[in-house]
């Protein structure tokens, strides 16, 4: 298993090098960049997709369109989209890269929010109206809490996608942890490639864990069936 020793050697070289821990291309700075770009893209996607998904799920209009669009979006090659936007808009700011990130992050949130709201037990909805709640109150106090696990699932899937695509976007000049991988590969600096890859994998797992925690905290115990009500 010679590759194991080589692998460990590269890791030691990358993480052991003090120069990799300071400055604008140091690990803390790159990590922060990766977090910023991912969070920005995800936040914009949530702002677009959640209200739209709620409206479509609540009114029932345009549902087919959402499902078809989400399926089509899965087929779009991320690298192609990134290159297309950079060629179209130039690489003078981060926006030509952030736009495709947002575009790719919208469909999973949209479709899961829509499915979540649509899937709420009609009896529950009727009961809420029967208790005298109005349309907006039914949505806010009953439908959203019940659909929350699915809405959060959509956000988690998008977050996974965004973290991965932010990495690929380093190819088109974006900062973040992808820089180590792309630049290292271009200059045959495998310590940088391996170290950067491990950092990105750890970052992705961290994001995954954060979402598990958010789900645990925000989903009502009655919905997640952590309470046994008989």
């Amino acid at each position: 298993m010679s590759w194991v020793t080589a692998f460990l050697g590269w890791l030691a070289e990358f993480f052991g090098d003090g120069a990799n821990w300071t400055g604008s291309d140091g690990i803390p700075a790159r990590l922060l960049e990766h977090l910023e770009f991912s969070a920005l893209a995800l936040a914009l996607a949530v702002l677009v997709a959640v209200p739209l998904g709620l409206a479509i799920g609540h009114t029932g209009r345009g549902g087919m369109l959402v499902v078809v669009a989400a399926n089509l979006a899965r087929a779009l090659p991320t690298l192609g989209l990134l290159v297309m936007f950079v060629l179209l808009l130039g690489a003078s700011s981060i926006w030509p890269v952030i736009i495709p990130l947002v575009l790719l992050a919208v469909p999973p949130i949209l479709v899961n929010t829509y499915e979540g709201i649509k899937g709420v037990d009609p009896e529950l909805r009727d009961a809420a109206y029967g208790m005298g709640l109005r349309g907006g109150q039914v949505l806010g106090r009953v439908l959203v809490p019940v659909a929350l696990p699915l809405i959060l699932l959509g956000c988690r899937l998008s977050a996974i996608q965004v973290v991965a695509t932010t990495t690929v976007a380093a190819y088109t000049g974006l900062g973040g942890l992808g820089r180590y991988v792309i630049d290292g590969f271009a200059t045959k600096d495998y310590a940088s490639v391996v170290g950067g890859s491990v950092l990105i994998v750890l970052f992705a797992l961290f994001v995954q864990a954060v979402f598990a925690l958010v789900q645990r905290v925000t989903v009502s115990p009655g919905v997640s069936r952590r309470l046994n009500i008989r």
Partner: protein, 226 residues
């Protein structure tokens, strides 16, 4: 080069079959291989694992936890880490994609088997079906629509993910994107995106067709209900 840059169609025609390794035709065949092999591998691996998880329930929780982790791993760093094991070959892209496929298919197999109604299973037992025959003749056919739905997701995402492999020189049609970026030029990008999406739509359509042929009763029941 004559006067001005070539149009999309001109560029496509000129580069479709140049006989070199980067002609569109070769890239397309590579792309099909690199996305088809992981889908088949994933199905072959996920079927027995899914069956085991449905049979021994205690296996399912840890397995699906592990699969959630696998699914969360970004493709590019995984490709990069695979290089030290498999080198700069198609295998480096195929193996991770197969893992993503397994992560999606195991829950699909388990959900599919869960969708078999209990009275159907009991009827099969009462009719004297052996467990193996019950699985092959009753349970798997009923599970097929759910498994095929998972397979559609896997096929479409594999086809689009292969292009990321272009960053390590093994990306099929993704090679058009890196070529277009290095030598700023739009036609290859458009051709690449269109071909990848078309490939995904064809694969998806074939799987929908397969589902209709394999499970004719699903449609018959829907028509009877309407």
């Amino acid at each position: 080069m004559g006067d001005g840059p070539p149009s999309l169609w001109e560029w496509f025609g000129r580069n479709w079959d140049t006989g070199r390794a980067d002609s569109i035709r070769t890239l397309l065949t590579d792309h099909v291989t690199m996305s088809l092999v992981p889908v088949v591998l994933a199905l072959v691996v996920a079927l027995p694992l899914g069956l085991a998880c449905a049979r021994w329930r205690w296996l399912y929780q840890p397995t699906s936890g592990l699969m959630n982790v696998v699914y969360a791993l970004p493709s590019l760093p995984v490709f990069m880490l695979m290089i030290s094991v498999t080198g700069l070959s198609q295998t480096t892209v195929i193996v991770p994609l197969a893992f993503y496929g397994v992560a999606v298919l195991i829950p699909a197999v388990v959900d599919g088997l869960d969708s078999v109604p209990d009275h159907v299973r009991q009827s099969a037992v009462a009719m004297g079906f052996t467990p193996l025959r019950r699985l092959l003749a009753v349970e798997l056919p009923i599970a097929a629509p759910v498994v095929l739905a998972g397979l559609r997701v896997v096929a479409v995402s594999s086809i689009s993910l292969v292009s990321v492999g272009a960053l390590i020189g093994q990306g099929g049609l993704g090679g058009l994107f890196t070529r277009a970026y290095q030598n700023p030029f739009m036609p290859p990008v458009i051709v690449g995106i269109v071909l990848v999406v078309a490939l995904a739509l064809v694969a998806d359509g074939l799987l929908v067709l397969a589902q209709r042929l394999l499970t004719p009763w699903v449609r018959a029941r829907k028509e009877a209900a309407s």
